[in-house]
């Protein structure tokens, strides 16, 4: 395996043209808790499983879904601490945009800037990539939007997507159940079903964005 010689340096390509550290980061994401998102016709919902290591943990202190602006939310799969750092940076960028233009940042712009931060950490010396993939859900003048951002810094717009453990099952399930003109309630229902598909689920956090730029966080 010629690749293994290159697996310790982030900023060196391996002979097969891969940055092995990013592959490892994706593996870290793949072993994180499942999260998924669905874009409906009139809103977008993102959800994740909130599995706590013990019943003694105060569940209100663990926040797996966060808002970046009143109309943009984000969920992750992977390392929690990396997620917190990205949320902090993204919130700051959203506020800088507002300060300059006195206008709330469009979802695409915030996704672009978050992805740029993640890419920075794949090209600088002495740092490692973020061990999270983000699902950013937002509602702006262009309607509901759902984006996935990977540790490499690439981002994709999805109609429905899943990340983390059990992702292939979840994606197959979503492919079957997704329709273009889904209403938000149907989308929430489908999300919960998809999460339950995998295995025994203890706690689900659900976050949905609807028109009028309102967002609701539901935990059950």
């Amino acid at each position: 395996m010629g690749d293994s010689q290159y697996s310790f340096s982030l900023t060196t390509f391996s002979p097969s043209g891969k940055l092995v550290q990013i592959e490892h980061a994706l593996t870290a994401v793949g072993s994180g808790q499942t999260s998924l998102g669905i874009k409906a016709a009139n809103g977008v919902v993102i959800a994740t499983e909130k599995k706590l290591p013990s019943i003694l943990v105060d569940e209100t202190s663990v926040q797996k879904i966060q808002t970046l602006t009143p109309n943009i939310g984000v969920v992750y799969s992977g390392m929690g601490p990396d997620f917190r750092v990205l949320v902090r940076k993204s919130r700051k960028q959203a506020q800088q945009y507002y300060r300059l233009y006195k206008e709330t940042i469009p979802v695409t712009q915030l996704v672009r800037e978050t992805a740029a931060v993640m890419q920075e950490f794949t090209q600088s010396g002495g740092v490692r990539p973020f061990g999270v993939s983000l699902l950013i859900a937002g509602y702006d003048d262009n309607g509901p939007q759902l984006y996935q951002v990977d540790p490499s810094g690439s981002y994709f717009s999805w109609k429905a997507s899943a990340m983390g453990k059990n992702v292939s099952n979840a994606k197959t399930f979503l492919e079957k159940r997704y329709t273009e003109d889904m209403e938000l309630d149907d989308a929430i229902h489908t999300t919960i079903l998809t999460l339950k598909e995998g295995y025994l689920v203890f706690l689900i956090c659900c976050f949905c964005l609807i028109p009028l730029f309102q967002s609701n966080l539901i935990e059950f």
Partner: protein, 285 residues
């Protein structure tokens, strides 16, 4: 001796800069010109810039006194003390009509009292429905316009849409405030059609204090006359033709009262479907 001190006091009153924040004088290009005209007074450095203080030396005193004996030969050609905003002369006005707006400016470019050009452009296009007029120092107006076009073009590429007038006004305000302690010496007038073709106008001072208005905004050396003319001639909800007449009359009558602006007028009338540009013939003085 008493005559000397009288003259000193009068001279000082005439040449002190008028109501400018202290931070600017180090960039004031007239400071150098004025410095050697100012009578030497040791230790009165408050209100004078670092450059000025460099001129206050013992040698200076003698030269200043000599120059008073032969005023015409050694002094600069007759130049009353002018604010930096009055160096080039300008007049810009924008008015709101019914689903349309008009923005107009004079066409004179001068260097203090001498007219250099009579076709100077002060109103610039940002995009089809957004225009900005920049009064004040001509070089700053041109540079600021270049910077704004740069920012807007990048915005267009990134966000794949044109900037709304309100957003653009916030951007201009932020850019001007960035240079709070060494500002661009211009006052912008921003006019555009926003969502649903709702006209939007605003003006700001040279460090970015926005002033929104529903009827008209003015700026430039002729601003005081412009305020009076617009106030009396303006009516709400004017049709494009009437708006054009009104803004032209207001501009021409105001610049006639101001020696530093005039030499023709340029009026731009923007409706949701078309843009009309017209050049006005006026008194060429």
């Amino acid at each position: 001796m008493s005559l000397d001190s009288d003259r000193d006091r009068n001279a000082k009153r005439r040449w002190l800069p008028r109501a400018e924040p202290k931070g600017w004088t180090s960039l004031d290009l007239l400071a150098e010109q004025e410095a050697h005209l100012r009578p030497h007074k040791p230790k009165s450095l408050c209100g004078l810039s670092f450059l000025d203080s460099a001129f206050h030396s013992r040698h200076r005193t003698r030269r200043v006194q000599e120059s008073r004996l032969q005023p015409r030969l050694l002094r600069e050609p007759a130049a009353p003390a002018m604010s930096i905003f009055e160096y080039n002369g300008s007049a810009v006005v924008a008015m709101v009509g019914k689903n349309c707006f008009a923005i107009a400016s004079d066409r004179r470019l001068g260097v203090q009292l001498q007219t250099i050009a009579t076709d100077f452009k002060r109103v610039f296009k940002i995009h089809d429905k957004l225009y900005i007029g920049l009064s004040g120092l001509a070089t700053d107006a041109q540079t600021l316009y270049q910077r704004l076009v740069f920012r807007h073009k990048l915005y267009q590429l990134r966000e794949e849409r044109d900037m709304k007038p309100q957003t653009f006004a916030s951007l201009v305000s932020a850019l001007l405030y960035e240079k709070r302690f060494g500002p661009y010496f211009c006052q912008p007038v921003i006019a555009g059609l926003g969502e649903d073709n709702e006209p939007f106008i605003c003006t700001m001072d040279c460090i970015g204090a926005k002033e929104l208005a529903k009827d008209f905004v003015v700026s430039g050396t002729a601003s005081e006359s412009l305020y009076g003319a617009c106030e009396s001639m303006y009516k709400p909800n004017m049709e494009p033709d009437e708006l054009f007449e009104t803004i032209s009359q207001a501009l021409l009558s105001s610049v006639d009262r101001d020696c530093l602006s005039g030499w023709g007028g340029y009026v731009l009338l923007v409706t949701p479907t078309e843009v009309q540009e017209r050049v006005l013939k006026s008194r060429m003085d």
